[in-house]
């Protein structure tokens, strides 16, 4: 006999509860009156505070008419001439847009997809209301949970009317009860017996409601029954301890431009301040110094109110950094400046430093962070990403100690659930269930508040919290500040595990590569900032002023562009256009500040330079990356003028062979596509090719909806053809360099490859020009050197990390695409092979070899992402010894910090005292009293600097920590030294 599964089609009791809940919502308001007329003026925000208007003047708008336009804003105006307040009265506007509301000239609150009411109690004494509303049509992200609001989404939205409504507080309260209990009834995180109990008790209470004839008294009786039989029942006991922190994740740019974020931020802050008026227990955490700084300019009266709440301990600045940056790609100095400018702002405006780093959404975290954080006054690191987004392995801790590349430790909290929740009991119970460090006897952290585009907590979330505190079945919950949670749960006496390594995110691996222009410009500007500050500091030795204010402003603008949806490339086209505009202008201004276009060539590094470099000059016989110039062997001391050695006048230093060439260093044989079939090292007597070498590879790259974010491992299963248009052939040579070229084609793209060898340098440079018009493709170049090793060394910008090449564990398998800064290296005991790039950050670890990711062609969020022309270069450096012995880091610095034209005093010898450390930055201190020298050990060595006088030591916030004339250093350590200006001039002048 066939088995027939019994399927219940009749209405379940919990469904009947839902029906009655919906019925009650219809009776939420006792009274409703449309405000009329309402006037609208449509506009578009084109830059910060600058609108272009579609209407000459406000015009009346009727219910049902369409409003808003693509990328549009709208100003609404209404007058309520005879206003008489009564209990429960609110201004009501249901919208999918984001609206800031002023009443009688005062910021009254906000409407958005999750907020339809503005409490009019503060206007109880007014006789008339004048309403001004600034709306922005964007409803992304997808946190609009109200189905009625969702139906209103789109560039053109139906105006549903503006209303005065009087709320029935009894019904509202009962609705919050039902929101709470229907969520629990639907959640398997609660005991089945308890859910059955709720279904019985809530159903019985709702029997008081007459669905044919609603009366408030019935709702009151139902609420009283719930109070007696449910809230006061202590029979069912929950377990666990959950701390609730309210916040709002606010992307500075994403599906909106930065100029829109000023509004999003104001709307968010305003909504939270208005909640604080009504809920004395409410605490709210708001991150990113940038958002405070812009609010201070945008709405000073709101900022002052916020400052008052900060003083009360209710509005809490979190996150020591200036913005929440990407934490893979920015170099050490950029991350330091994020902390320096963030912390300096907090200290200046609010009188304290923030002790936590609040990065709920960033796409993995570099191993260099713990040291930077600790030396910036930060004890606690908070990020949700690894627990909730890893695609392969469950990150094993929520509360742990994170040990950095140099051994510095910070407390780390990776909460077990998403950073956007609406404080539903099921979300809190799931958080406790997922918490992996229960045996440390600490609380787990559940963040609540809508976000991505700001918004934060709502009245409903706070009402649920009040109710949950009274439910015995819930874990023990506490609404706290971040500071309170972190200080009470991360203490020396709590037995926390140690995570010694980077915080790699097993997702969003494409963000190292997407929007290649931004990546390359980021590298260029990081070096330009270094050079501009150095030049300015050197000029101080001649009595010239240091442009501190302008450099700081430029740096801050740059740091904003390192935000975790800008630099990673996960944004819409206008955000990219803003970034291109900003970064281009910053670069131009930095060059202007350095001046001296006719000056002599100057080495901005405290490294010797003695290889072959490209020297731009208008009459040069070579073109590289779109710039005319010539390759010259150079000889420069640290921070010194030097010389590009003159041409030797003949080009007879190499021999062309069949399909190849012999140079003083190599005997090379090419494949048609420009890759090497043989690269024999004449000096070391060994063959470097162990498989495809310098081979361009094209893959079908389809990671799904996380298009710009992700690269999936299955791309390797779908290689795409690259046809050879012109086989690798000798193109030209001069006395120092020779060039082979090859031309390849993809389906819609042309690729020109130039491979250069040098007379006086072991490096081999490859330059690409790519006219890129692909769809969902990934371009990589593969290196398979004949090197027996199980690890690849990758530059982090402040030391190197050893990444396994093996695939033995799921942890290794998941790291098939990683972040790498200037270089990577594969070495045996006595020799190795390094690749140094000029602005790429993604490397692949396939079954054999290592690939450098060059270009992607993603469609979401920007359908035109990366399309167009690209130029980039890298150098292969086969070498004797290991990477440190071969000075690969120094070579990579040289490759990325070109010689500059300068008119600064030549004081190179005096700066020799800092060798062998990398002089990462020289700048005027923030208070203008000292010169700051930032030094970084990058090779994994220890030693002692012998300084020419007694220097002050400081932390990264430039706070003095001691004095020394002899500074010991340890592997990968970042040191900051300072000199009073007079001492600086005496020692270096």
């Amino acid at each position: 006999m066939a088995h027939i599964k019994v399927q219940r089609r009749s209405m379940r009791p919990e469904e009947f509860i839902g029906i009655r809940y919906a019925f009650l919502k219809k009776h939420l308001y006792r009274y409703s009156e449309a405000v009329s007329p309402v006037y609208i003026r449509e506009a578009r925000l084109i830059d910060e505070g600058a609108y272009e208007y579609y209407d000459e003047a406000p015009r009346p708008i009727e219910q049902g008419e369409l409003c808003y336009t693509p990328d549009g804003s709208a100003f609404f105006y209404a007058e309520i001439p005879r206003f008489s307040w009564k209990e429960g009265l609110c201004l009501w506007f249901q919208t999918s847009s984001e609206v800031i509301v002023k009443i009688n000239g005062r910021y009254a609150g906000a409407f958005d997809p999750n907020r339809s009411e503005i409490d009019l109690r503060p206007f109880a004494d007014e006789q008339a209301l004048s309403v001004e509303m600034l709306g922005y049509n964007r409803s992304k992200p997808d946190d609009d949970r109200n189905p009625e609001v969702r139906a209103r989404r789109g560039c053109r939205q139906k105006f549903g009317g503006l209303f005065l409504k009087q709320k029935d507080e009894t019904v509202q309260s009962l609705c919050y009860d039902l929101e709470l209990f229907t969520d629990i009834i639907g959640s398997e995180s609660f005991p089945e017996d308890y859910r059955s109990f709720l279904i019985r008790e809530i159903g019985a209470a709702l029997n008081e409601i007459d669905l044919e004839d609603f009366r408030t008294e019935d709702a009151l009786r139902a609420a009283e029954r719930i109070e007696t039989n449910v809230y006061r029942s202590g029979v069912y006991r929950g377990s666990g301890r959950v701390a609730l922190i309210s916040h709002s994740h606010l992307d500075i740019a994403y599906y909106w431009r930065r100029c829109h974020t000023l509004q999003k931020n104001l709307r968010t802050v305003l909504a939270q301040l208005r909640l604080m008026d009504r809920y004395p227990e409410f605490r709210y955490a708001h991150s990113q110094a940038y958002t405070y700084e812009t609010l201070e300019k945008e709405a000073p009266e709101v900022f002052e109110e916020l400052r008052g709440r900060i003083a009360e301990g209710r509005f809490e600045p979190v996150g020591a950094m200036y913005v929440e940056p990407d934490c893979n790609i920015p170099n050490a100095e950029s991350l330091i400046r994020q902390c320096l400018y963030g912390q300096t702002y907090y200290k200046d405006r609010f009188g304290f430093y923030v002790e936590n780093c609040w990065l709920p959404d960033v796409f993995g975290n570099s191993w260099i962070l713990p040291q930077i954080l600790r030396k910036s006054g930060v004890k606690y690191f908070v990020s949700n990403k690894m627990s909730t987004w890893n695609d392969t392995n469950r990150f094993p801790h929520n509360h742990f100690i994170w040990r950095g590349i140099d051994g510095t430790e910070v407390y780390a909290c990776v909460p077990p659930t998403h950073f956007i929740t609406w404080n539903a009991p099921s979300q809190i119970a799931e958080n406790w269930d997922a918490f992996q460090d229960k045996d440390t006897d600490t609380e787990t952290l559940s963040m609540f508040g809508y976000g991505d585009g700001g918004s934060g907590a709502t009245e409903e979330m706070l009402e649920l919290m009040r109710r949950m505190e009274r439910l015995s079945v819930m874990p023990r919950i506490r609404h706290v500040t971040a500071k309170q949670f972190l200080e009470e749960n991360f203490r020396d006496d709590v037995p926390l595990a140690v995570w010694d390594g980077e915080l790699y995110l097993e997702m969003h691996r494409g963000t190292f590569t997407t929007k290649g222009w931004l990546k390359r410009k980021n590298r260029e500007l990081e070096q330009l900032f270094r050079a501009a500050e150095l030049v300015s500091a050197l000029r101080m030795l001649e009595g010239k002023p240091y442009p501190a204010r302008e450099l700081r402003a430029l740096y801050k603008e740059f740091l904003v562009n390192q935000f975790h949806d800008i630099l990673p490339g996960s944004h819409i086209a206008p955000v990219f256009q803003d970034a291109v505009r900003d970064l281009t202008r910053i670069g131009e201004r930095l060059r202007e500040l350095m001046g001296a276009p006719e000056g002599a060539l100057f080495n901005p590094l405290n490294d010797e330079r003695d290889g072959v470099e490209f020297i731009p000059c208008e009459d040069g016989g070579e073109e590289r990356a779109g710039v005319r110039g010539e390759f010259r062997r150079v000889s420069f001391g640290p921070l010194s003028y030097g010389k590009a050695l003159p041409a030797r006048g003949n080009a007879d230093w190499f021999t062309l062979t069949q399909n190849g060439v012999e140079t003083p260093f190599y005997r090379v044989r090419f494949e048609a596509d420009g890759s090497f079939s043989s690269l024999f090292d004449l000096t070391l007597g060994r063959e470097w090719c162990g498989g495809p070498m310098n081979r361009l590879m094209l893959y079908d790259d389809r990671p799904g909806v996380y298009d710009a974010w992700d690269i999936l491992p299955d791309h390797a299963d779908r290689p795409c053809p690259l046809s050879v248009v012109q086989s690798a052939a000798f193109a030209k040579a001069d006395d120092e360099s020779l060039c082979f070229t090859a031309k390849l084609a993809a389906k819609n793209s042309a690729i020109v490859i130039k491979i250069r060898f040098f007379r006086s340098d072991r490096a081999i440079e490859t330059e690409y020009y790519v006219d890129w018009h692909e769809s969902h493709k990934l371009l990589k170049v593969l290196f398979t050197p004949a090197v027996l090793t199980r690890e690849v060394l990758c530059d982090t910008s402040a030391g190197f990390i050893r990444r396994p090449l093996t695939k033995n564990t799921t942890w290794e398998q998941a790291r098939f695409e990683c972040c790498c800064h200037k270089w990577f290296d594969l070495s045996e005991t006595d020799a190795g092979f390094a690749v140094i790039n000029d602005g790429k950050y993604g490397i692949g670890i396939p079954e054999k070899g290592v690939s450098l990711s060059l270009l992607r062609a993603t469609e979401r969020p920007d359908p035109g992402s990366d399309l167009g022309e690209h130029r980039f270069c890298y150098r292969m450096v086969p070498h004797a010894g290991n990477a440190a012995e071969a000075g690969i880091e120094r070579l990579a610095r040289v490759y990325n910090a070109p010689l500059i034209r300068a008119d600064v005093p030549d004081r190179g010898k005096r700066f020799a005292c800092f060798a062998p450390l990398y002089l990462q930055a020289v700048k005027l201190s923030e208070d203008g009293s000292r010169v700051i020298f930032r030094l970084c050990e990058t090779d994994g060595r220890r030693g002692t600097l012998r300084l020419p006088c007694e220097f002050r030591t400081t932390d990264l916030l430039e706070r003095e920590t001691g004095k020394t004339a002899s500074a010991p250093f340890t592997p990968f350590e970042i040191l900051t030294l300072a000199l009073e200006l007079s001492e600086y001039r005496r020692i270096f002048g």
Partner: protein, 81 residues
Amino acid sequence: MERQIKAFVEETLRPLLQGDGGEIEYDGFSGGRVFVTLRGECARCPVEERCMDWCEAKLREACGAGLRMEARKKPPYFWDT
């Protein structure tokens, strides 16, 4: 005429739609009809006809009263189901 229409689509309308994560591509002009392709978020918008009506009105204001705009949607593969 066609050059003016193409410029209007690419220089005036395109930045607006890009601002919402969308994309509009000019495909051609024939018999008073302007053909465009909607990509990105526009390719999955449930109310794109409202937006297209507005775009068409703007196009008429700028380029001629009798013009009509005809849009086809081209969603990326992961939404084209």
